[in-house]
Symmetry: D4
Subunit: 218 residues, 8 copies
């Protein structure tokens, strides 16, 4: 039986999310039914596969705000709005699902965000055209696969916290995302931080932690 | 001839630091002399080896605040004080040099920090005894090698931003720090971010970026 | 023709098990039929896929105790009961199939075990709530993927032998289980031992070897 | 300042050891002096390099039982004797330092052990000649580098718990010990467990945990 | 258009074989038709998938001796018989397809061989029972996955050339066969040689090269 | 005895160079003496260590143009001048030795080149300030370690051939240069080519091959 | 919404291509429709899967020149012809799809090319028979998997620029193409450059950059 | 105490050699003294370092035939002559120490061998000039680092058994020899076998095993 960490919201300011991608269809349905019956406020499901979604009972589906690009779903709405804005900046169209996972997690967490796609550095003018918009955000999430050069360029251009999400997009040495991960970790731009490959959810959670600083820390 | 990025302070809130570890003795001396003559305010040198330090001219040494545990040196003092506090938490004695690099970089950047060492999770009570102190900080930097289990435990206990610095301390599968890096990236605690192995400097820079949010973002 | 190691039970206290996962449907059926006809006492099949199960003759199926969560099956019952108890502790729901493989192998071997799931260290209170139960066991099997931080925390809290089973659950750097494996091997808790990724069967066999010590060794 | 885990002996039956290999000469000296002054019973130092040893004050040296093959030292004697015996079996002469680290850790822990060297499987008769001796032990620690074939052969011949210590001995694909580690983890002998490369200390600690089962568990 | 190396038989004593596994269905069909029309003597096809086989024209199929365990096929019979015998020794049932690829390649090359399966070292008596048979062969091909311990044990027991074929059988660290490959390369038995993972064909070709020495070299 | 490939100059337009880094002091001296006595025109020595240099006879030294930054030496001058210019662009001071190896190889080959250092993308304005100069070259060699983001940015800004030389400069995931290599290979800028890590010599040779196209190919 | 880099043609002499392999069916259709409506001249689509192709609207299909061997398609024809010729040389039939991707990209770019297949070095005479043809080209693209020995042999025989494309063809250590990539990067033939595994497109783009040198550079 | 495998000569036709490289100075001296006193016929020591050599007692040195290029030494002469010849073919000067280890092991084993150096494939004519000589040998040992292309070229040109020894010579992706190893294992020439990186000794032992076939097997 699943033992949910209901106190997490109080402890760290975010509820436990359900990562469906590593669970069976039966496990996801059982957890979703349990969460739906316990009425503990809004919940986020991530990497919810089509088959897992289809297996949910109608009563759960009725309370679900689902998005097939990011494979995320909100159960019983979203958390209250918070101060601060986040720019989610993605290098290419292929990074859209990860970028949207970050954006949806932010929306679930009550955070306003802008999604800016197709600004890879092979065409630097595209990034420069959006730079003012990016600089107006409190936090920047940079989503990029392949060489992840976007991360370093952004890190050198903005003063805000930059959280890099390497993506598994690519082939050959870029397959799986390790090349992008290592490029982001080795970034020549100082003070950039990194989350696991394809972890748009984690980058958004990091942003939520940081936004607790807005308006004065503890 | 070295081409220093003097505008970096204005652009991203931190001056360019000099990473000496990848440079020759001659290159470090030349850069230090050039910086000393250009009078552009305080500068930070990191991974300054003993041989590199000894080769600096006395005129530069006189203006240097050097620390041999962290291999950092401040040229012409530190930046003005900033709001906010950071807790640098290290799993073991062996992580001290990396943790001190983070602490010194914060001090250089005008940020108050607490250094808390020897709180590895093999003796969980040690961490619990310092938890209130850690929770009172705006940002937590978690420094750990080997299994880096400290990162996940901390991430589950505090709501503040947690930046993990995996260290290269260890042998066998832990040698070089990849095991710690992967453990930190795969952390089951949501919203933890990570910097390169042994990159105490980078974690501190990330904290400086985040502290710009204190008292209201942009 | 398969050449079964019938003397293994006498030599090392456990019969040879049949690892079906690396065999074809035809090979598994042939081995199962041969074992069923040779009447050498209870036998364990592991990683028995659905297609392999469906291809078994009814005469074999009638003598099979099958479990689809762990993909294990007992042919002709279990071994006699042994002294000692084992706690199988799993970090998350996603680790259930591996944890159940360990639990079923123990049950096959005549060993009493408790299965404790969803005690990952991101919510430390969950583990602490079950600690007395865990400490009452003679041996602890810790099943965890991702950062495997559970292994180190458990290893620091209990005096009993701890056998870690890293799982392949996860994505990015955690995919395939190497991050969990390295984390477990590098554990800062002394005296923890490790088996191959996802090898719940092997951890249970290790526990069986250890339980031969209960009541005085040789 | 070092924060020693003095309660570890009560909690898990073994005191915290000092892994000197990852510490500076100054750090080791400071910890040794602190331990020597706190009078908390016998202590074990591992991977104590020659330079670190030479830097210890005479007052500490006088209370030290040092061994240069294993680089271990006992401060203030050993723990009380325990029931049970352990066979430490090493494939070749080159594995002697790791095997001796295991044997010395056992002796420190009050456990009787036999050290059996040069029984690699390229000359199988050597192992067979010592098999009765090995089978008379409660626990077997198998130390092997290169292909670590000794681990599988031993695991198929004895019923006792077998803890494998892969060693970093070797060159080419064997350099660093990963080949031996993977071979041991993938062992075709069921129920063998593994510790980190070169971790003779950890294998001995695992044996100590297991010996708590002798004479009836909890 | 495929450019076949028709002179290879004269140059190195073996005709060029067609590795179908890396080719499309269309490519395999085109090459087979071309070979069938050129009448250059017997030809070997390896890793011929079911779909590729089914797409061959009936006129080609009529001249094909196909085997679905090894996925090999002979076009227009086999080469003339040669002196010498080879023992193909496989650790487990799961290695059967690779072992059979070696045996079939030998049969195609006119070499007599014995196939000996299920002699893994976890049950050493099984190997010892077949040892006289193995020692009577001119060359031994050892096929093993996981820890590949069979390679070292065989290499220490027989004086004949031993060619190891690591297999990709296994999971966790053994998945893909790198653990077995490294174990075989690092074998403590001197003079063992190794071919690529799962390359039963290559091991047989190596044996054919060696058999040219029987009855006096050049 | 060394068997020099004297015909290489005619065959591929460049003489064989002597890579000293993988040779012993004795081997380098013997080869240098042999080359000096055979009078076959200018020769290039690369990675000539200090100890190797010091061991050369005075008669050879007298004919040597040596450079200690790049560890290259010309024996008997340089090749005739060729048309075309190359820009060698390096991200940071730490890449200077590799960049200089490329520049010196070009000079040896009779090619005019510009060396442009410290234009890493963390300060994008530095690169933009030199862009006209870079765009005026026929070929660009981009030398960068860490994230090698310079490669992608340059590749997107210039139309000329871009040859990337990843460097081993860096620590953590960047150590050894694999992160930079993978970043360069995965570059989002189309048509960038790559040579081995730290292979400034190879990049220059590639440029020489390309310059044969200037003024009309074959 | 996709933000196409329309200025790339002017900036670097080639338009942005659409790499379909990392995009969803919906994303590819949207981009193709957008490109078709914007009338910006010829466009290249690469790695266009069958399902993606089938989902394109008939209006787009009518303007498409598609090739299923290389999975490339030209939208609205090709670029104007350029001077210079390229030889695309592939080791085996299995490399045909990658070689054809290179050849089609060249044709799209207005470059004349010869495709030469099945000249692997196991039958050296095949390569020698085509050598004059290869030497008559301005640039050589060498496509090879497995050991990629073709790259070194070619690099030693021709003076023209050689761009190596390692392919993912192969199994065991050759699976995925890393062995071929490393072999090409470590090539003993000086001045060979390399692109990412299977990146026939990239090699062709590199050739296009180089051909800008024909007839005099800048 | 060292337990030598004195029966190995009878069992596999070669005595146990002493691999000194992984042993301490004291261990080597003790083993050498023991061997010298036991009078069991000729013995081979490999990877005997200068310091280890210098520490041997004069009585042992007097009976030693030592070679500093290969770091091998014969104690009490060599084994009786055997039929058959071996060609040891090395790509470059840098491979000389490994090639000489193979040649010296053959000489110790009573086998006639030819050493042919500097025939790397970047200058194919050098290999072709020696081909008749190579083809006259019964067995070919191919020693090559970097891309190991020599292995494939040789394997395609000779019918005799080819044993490849990849060497650790090289830098960047070639450092450590894994690139050469993988290239040799993936060789497109059929029937080539491989030993561990730098294992000249092992290749020679493999040749000795094969030469037992000359004049009729068993």
């Amino acid at each position: 039986m699943h033992q949910h960490d209901h106190a997490r919201l109080e402890r760290i300011g975010m509820p436990e999310a359900v990562l469906c991608g590593t669970k069976t269809v039966d496990q996801v349905r059982a957890i979703a039914v349990e969460l739906a019956s316990s009425s503990n406020g809004p919940r986020l499901l991530t990497r919810l596969g089509d088959e897992q979604l289809d297996a949910l009972p109608q009563a759960v589906l009725d309370r679900l705000d689902d998005d097939r690009t990011s494979l995320t779903a909100f159960l019983d709405g979203t958390l209250p709005e918070r101060s601060g804005t986040v720019a989610v900046v993605a290098a290419g169209t292929s990074d859209a699902s990860v970028a949207t996972e970050a954006a949806r997690t932010l929306r679930f967490s009550g955070v306003h965000c802008e999604l800016i796609v197709d600004v890879g550095v092979a065409g630097l003018w595209r990034l420069e055209a959006r730079l003012d918009e990016i600089r107006s955000a409190d936090i920047v999430i940079a989503v990029a696969g392949m060489d992840a050069a976007l991360v370093s360029v952004l890190g050198g251009l903005v003063a805000a916290p930059v959280v890099a999400v390497p993506t598994s997009v690519g082939y050959g040495v870029a397959a799986g995302g390790t090349a992008a991960l290592h490029s982001a970790l080795a970034s020549c731009a100082q003070g950039v931080t990194v989350v696991n490959i394809d972890n748009g959810f984690g980058a958004a959670c990091a942003a939520v932690r940081m936004l607790s600083l807005v308006g004065g820390g503890r």
